[in-house]
Structure formats: C-alpha cells, structure tokens
Symmetry: C2
C-alpha cells in the first residue's frame, strides 16, 4: 500500500477549500484519515445549509464516525486548512481525535487563542502545512466579499 | 397571546432530557424560543446517531436556523438542562444566540470553567433553573450506567 504524506493529505483538504470558495462559502476544507485512507471529506457549508454548525470539521467528524460506525476517532488524523474554532476544537475533544494538522492560523477565532484545554489531552497538533496557500485563498475570498 | 415563563420553557427542556434518559442517552434537553414560541426541540442523541456532535444544543441550533430560514439566532433564547460544553458554547457564538438559560452546572466540561470568552459578547446567560431536577436525572443515568 502506498503511504501518503502529510503534504498529500493537506493538499486534498485544500482542494475542498477551493470548492467551498467556488460555492461562495468561507473557504475551509477538512479531511479525516484513518490507517492511511481518507474516510471523510468536507468543506464549510454554513451558507448553503443555513447552519452555523456546518463547519468543515464538524461535517468531517460526523462523516468519519458514520464511515467507521464508531463515535471515537482516536486512530484518526484530521487535516484542516484553517485552525479550528472553539466549536470544532470542542467536537474534536468529544471525538478524542488522534491528530489535528491545521494549515493557517486563525488569530481571531482559533482555539489556541482562547484556551489551551479545549482539545483532548491525547490529541496531537501540528500546524503550518500549506498555511500560505490557505491564507491566500481566505484573503481572496474576503477581498471579493468586500467588493 | 399567552406569555410563557422561563420556568415553563425549562420544564419543556426537562421533558426532552427525560426522553434522552429513556433512550439510554446522557439526559440533556434543549429548546429554542423565538418571540415566545418554541421553534426547536432537541435532546442528546450521540449514541443513537453515533455522532459526538449530536448534543442537544447543536441539534437545536441547526433546527432553529432551519425553522427561521436564517443562520443567526440573535432574537432567540435557548433553554438547556445542563451547562453547554465548549463545542456548544462555540456554536452559540456563531449563531449569535440572544440568551442562554441553563439548568445544572457542569463542573467537568461546562464552558464557564474553560474560558470566559467562548460566548458571543451579546449573549446573555442565566443559570440554575430546575438545576436540581436536571442534576438528579443525570446522577440517576450515571448510577444506572455503572450498575
């Protein structure tokens, strides 16, 4: 079995962020990987679903649990193009997510600015992968929105 | 039009917590009220839906937005039998919920233990209504679970 890299997976998440952008949504994409296989793909759909809870991470966690038939995602990795907010960090806590890899930081609503203990103690976190591409896409979205 | 009291609405939320209890779910119920009318009712369904995000508050926020056809719940009040966790507090932030009335405090995972700034600055919070009834039902659930 071919072993995919973190860069490969984050690039898959970026493709989903691009779809969100094209749909007029704040461009954030997320995937969940389990044993080197993508088991869930999602992008932000708060506008389309008229639902503030429809962040990429929430949809991905729900979808991953459905794929596994299990609530807990301890053996899974999430790749998300933007730092999760408190809601999504809280969801990852309940899911006991194994790892979170996020791209761009979110200085306004990122969980790490709020408090350290939103994540499950077992969840490992890395950040910065494709951060520039993610931030560029977000900036493009908000610039377009203002015009 | 009859004006309902906070006690009436919290009692409606308690009825939903009771349904959760009977379904073998951690017994938490939530309703969302808009202009003195209940527009959403939900109870914790994490077991039934195999989904850690299916807390009463998340389901109620999604349902209320659907009922209103609008993402923001600035004119709405949530009545929930247990203090919301970080995930649900974070969801209420995005929804810009007008008011949260919660019953029992959650010393372990309640949002107020984590950080003050999880809620939207415009969200008013009260607590303690039917707190004893809510805590008694939760205690009964966990006692049953251990036996």
């Amino acid at each position: 079995m071919e072993l995919y890299t973190d860069a490969y997976f984050m690039n898959e998440a970026m493709k989903l962020a691009q779809i969100a952008f094209e749909d007029g949504e704040i461009p954030v994409g997320a995937i969940i990987v389990c044993r080197n296989k993508i088991i869930a793909k999602a992008y932000n759909q708060t506008e389309k679903l008229t639902d503030v809870t429809a962040h990429a991470e929430i949809l991905a966690i729900t979808s991953a649990a459905n794929a596994l038939g299990a609530k807990y995602l301890t053996e899974c990795q999430m790749y998300v193009t933007l730092e999760p907010c408190a809601m999504c960090a809280g969801a990852s806590f309940w899911a006991q997510l194994g790892e979170i890899h996020y791209g761009a930081s979110d200085p306004k609503r990122g969980f790490s600015r709020l408090t350290e203990n939103l994540l499950h103690p077992k969840t490992k976190v890395t950040s910065g992968l494709m951060a520039e591409e993610s931030k560029a896409l977000l900036d493009k979205f908000f610039k377009k929105l203002r015009n």
